[in-house]
Amino acid sequence: MNYRVLLLPALLWAAGCATTAPGRAPGDTSSPVPVERRGDLSPAGEALLIQGANERRAGDYGAASATLERALRIEPSAPALWLELARVRLLQGDVAQAGQLARKAGSLAPADSALASEAQRVIEAARRRDSL
């Protein structure tokens, strides 16, 4: 058992308090990034992931893209970042890139991890959207 898994909820709570998303409505109680999508990220990568996710939730997809690409420059092998970028592309309507980025996330995630199955879900969502 990786001890970091135990730490994550605490970190998450702390990070959730520390950052307020621009444009996030007061009283917005939607949970921050789910634990299983994080994987092992550095504090810098994690801060940017949270920022990117918040920007996505606020509907500012351009900002979210820029933030996540910034994070990927720091941690190019972090599947959680690729996956989050895939979600942003899906919301932007770029179905093809959403699928590709999710595949990339899946290729970097440990087999049978929550991240891998989450990536698979995005791939399938992109495929469904594409066939509409």
Partner: protein
């Protein structure tokens, strides 16, 4: 007659009026696009030393201070503790105000970043301005508003150039008379007596002839200007217009750019002695060039300071103190922040897809690139030194080798450094983009990948390294040979690729079909049509170093192709984002097949043609391939770490043989750069579905991990392997194996 003359003059004045107001109104100068390097990101864990951070902020013209850095653009360092205050900057993804960071280091990495109280997860320093895209005329400038101008600058200009600027109407009769008297005494034209307004007019039309007619015309235009516009406007126009220096075909205009050019600082951060130097330079940027004629410039600067004191613009004591200062010029070369013509060339080509030339040279666009000045400087230095060493080691009739380097980020496809030739600081033939040379054995990974993809081979499969006659379409027979003319018989794919065996590769390629290999190159990212001739199997295809980086980037990316980019984003003059160049990935090849291939490319470095640099890499895991073209004309190395993809080419411009293999020419340069930049080792995650097996390197039979030449490979599940001989009990090997096993358990 008089009426006629008066009429003619009126018409002439009207023409001049039109000319000068049009020019002045067109104060929306042509604003060249400004190009920035990557901003340095500060975060715990980043591989960066205090020295490197000091170099970075020095490149940005930061001032060292004794107390806490409270002003933008200053820093303080005490051993391994570093404090800095950044300048406010409008990034493509938002503005960052001036921020204070305290950074501590440990063992070559940033240990902690804080804002003085709380930990900061990530912060960034504003990027270095690396160049401009200026028009044919060479006119480059960075326009400043009156708020950007330190009050001492106008004071100095008036004190030295035009004492009655605030009172006169464009021309200053008193100054003119004084100059006339001086000229009469000297018997020639030595003094101008021109007001700042006249100088501005002169600068507009860039005519240095000192004829009377010219002067008269300037005077009339100066008066017209003063009639139309107020003093503040004219002064600001002057500050932005004047010619301040030259760098190759680039003409430095205005104090804003001059401040960056000479000191790497924004104008409002200049100290008194620096302002005085710029005002000294105005008088004659060639004559008072502080780089070429430091003493002359210094004398003139001190004269400016003295006149400022005399006019009461500054206290006498301040003038004296400033006069004792060094010229304090920004030594771009020493700081590793040269001029990047090769990289800018790539930037321009990428921008040309979306922008017209005139948009780039006029609209004041801000272009944000991925250039890393540290990696760039390292690559330039290592290439030049490597070529020097190679030239010295061989008897050549004065011919000098040349070369090119491309460095990209391994997963995101950003081009972070590009060296187009031996003399990196000079524009010229850009070999990284334009030298299309046969790639030799660099093509082999594409052959093996195509073979693995058929499912009929694994790295443990054996093929025949034996002479082969290939019937060509034209009826001729092609008889390839190995480098040392030998053949090895039955070999594993792993060994054949690691040791770059030609015969085995040709046999393999012909078996699976050359078309597959040609198609594979296209999928990997090579855009040109490749004819599927058998000679393709040994690399009879021309690519530029950048194209090779694109292909190898797909290996590094685990089968995902990412179009290479130099530009991250373009922002307009008002800070509005115009264009982003988003990260795009496309899966070109199955990840498991690429992972298998990459194991062989790692083996190249361990016991194949790349093993000679093992010591240089000091245990850093890397993957790559040597390439040598026919007749030893081109020496290549292409490879990657966990962080970077890097391609080095070495050869002669006139295509004569170099006598160098890829391993002897390009490889040592490649390894030296990888080592210098501290590139993170390769640590790819094995894709689901592959399983670990131990095989004998030469035969491919399954053996125990304790056998002498056992190699661990991740192979497709259920790969049928012949059983190898049981190895004798070797205590030494067992010892090593046990240590490794223990390590794995612990980790």
């Amino acid at each position: 007659m008089l009426a006629l003359a008066l009429g003619a003059f009126t018409i002439y004045a009207a023409v001049l009026n039109w000319q000068i107001t049009a020019r002045f109104e067109g104060r929306r100068w042509d604003l060249p696009a400004h190009v920035y390097a990557r901003p340095l990101e500060l975060y715990a864990g980043l591989s960066l030393t205090a020295d490197q951070l000091e170099a970075e902020v020095s490149r940005l013209g930061y001032r060292a201070v004794a107390g806490r850095p409270d002003e933008a653009g200053t820093f303080r360092r005490y051993r391994n503790r570093f404090e800095l205050r950044t300048r406010p900057f409008d990034f493509w993804d938002g503005s960052q105000p001036s921020r204070y960071f305290a950074v501590t280091f440990d063992d070559g990495r940033i240990q902690r970043v804080s804002d003085g109280i709380d930990e900061v997860a990530i912060g960034r320093v504003e990027p270095l301005l690396i160049g401009s895209i200026f028009p044919e005329s060479g006119e480059d400038r960075l326009v400043v508003t009156p708020e950007d101008v330190p009050p001492l600058l106008p004071a100095a200009l008036k004190a030295v150039e035009d004492r009655r600027f605030d009172e006169h109407f464009g021309v200053d009769p008193i100054a003119l008379l004084r100059a006339l008297a001086a000229n009469v005494r000297a018997g020639e034209v030595t003094q101008g007596g021109s007001t700042l307004t006249q100088q501005l007019v002169k600068n507009y039309f860039l005519d240095n002839r000192r004829t009377l007619w010219r002067k008269l015309k300037e005077a009339i235009m100066a008066v017209i200007l003063e009639l139309h516009y107020d003093k503040a406007d004219i002064l600001n126009a002057y500050i932005n217009e004047v010619y301040m220096g030259q760098q190759g075909n680039r003409a430095i205009h205005g104090f804003g750019l001059a401040s960056r050019f000479y000191f790497s600082r924004p104008l409002d951060e200049l100290e008194l002695h620096q302002i005085a130097l710029l005002v000294a330079i105005v008088r004659g940027p060639g004559y008072y060039d502080p780089v070429r004629f430091p003493e002359r410039a210094r004398t003139r600067r001190n004269l400016v300071l003295a006149q400022m004191a005399e006019q009461g613009a500054i206290p006498q004591a301040a003038a004296q103190q400033a006069a004792g200062e060094d010229l304090d010029l920004w030594d771009a070369e020493k700081l590793g922040a040269g001029w990047y013509p090769a990289y800018l060339d790539l930037v321009r080509r990428q921008l040309a897809v979306h922008y017209r030339e005139e948009d780039l040279t006029r609209e004041g666009l801000q272009v944000f690139t991925a250039l890393d000045p540290v990696v760039q400087a390292t690559a330039e230095r290592r290439l030049a030194a490597g070529l020097e060493r190679l030239d010295a080691a061989r008897q050549t009739d004065g011919a000098r080798l040349n070369g090119a380097v491309v460095v990209t980020s391994a997963q995101s496809g950003e081009v972070i450094a590009l060296v187009g030739g031996r003399r990196a600081g000079y524009a010229g033939f850009n070999r990284a983009l334009d030298a299309r040379r046969p790639i030799g054995s660099l093509v082999k990974p594409a052959v093996y990948l195509a073979a693995l993809e058929t499912g009929r081979y694994t790295l443990a499969s054996t093929i025949e390294d034996a002479p082969v006659d290939v019937e060509l379409a034209n009826g001729n027979t092609w008889r390839p040979a190995n480098f040392h003319e030998e053949s090895h018989g039955k070999v594993t794919l792993l060994r054949a690729l690691a040791e770059s065996m030609n015969l085995a590769t040709v046999q393999l390629g012909l078996t699976i079909g050359v078309e597959r290999v040609a198609a594979m190159l296209g999928r990997l990212g090579f855009d040109e049509q490749v004819a599927p001739y058998p000679s393709l199997l040994l690399g009879a295809v021309g690519m530029t170093p950048l194209e090779v980086a694109q292909v190898y980037g797909t290996f590094a990316g685990g089968g995902f192709r990412t179009p290479l980019r130099a530009v991250r984003a373009v922002v307009d003059a008002g800070g509005e984002p115009l264009q982003r160049y988003p990260l795009v990935v496309v899966q070109a090849v199955d990840g498991a097949d690429v992972y298998q291939l990459n194991q062989a490319l790692v083996e190249v470095m361990r016991r194949g043609t790349g093993k000679s640099v093992r010591d240089v890499l000091s245990g850093r895991r890397a993957a790559g391939k040597t390439g040598t073209s026919d007749g030893l004309r081109d020496s290549w190395f292409a490879g990657f770490t966990g962080e970077h993809v890097m391609v080095v080419w070495v050869g002669y411009d006139d295509n004569r043989p170099t006598g160098l293999t890829g391993a002897r020419g390009a490889l040592p340069i490649w390894a030296a750069i990888v080592n210098d930049i501290g590139s993170a080792p390769l640590a790819a995650v094995a894709p689901a579905g592959l399983e670990s097996r131990w095989i004998q390197y030469e035969t491919g039979v399954e053996v125990s991990r304790f056998c002498a030449d056992a190699v661990e490979l991740m192979l497709p599940p259920g790969t049928a392997l012949a059983r190898g001989p049981r190895c004798g009990f070797d205590l030494r090997r067992l010892g090593e194996g046990t240590v490794e096993w223990l390590k794995e358990v612990v980790e």
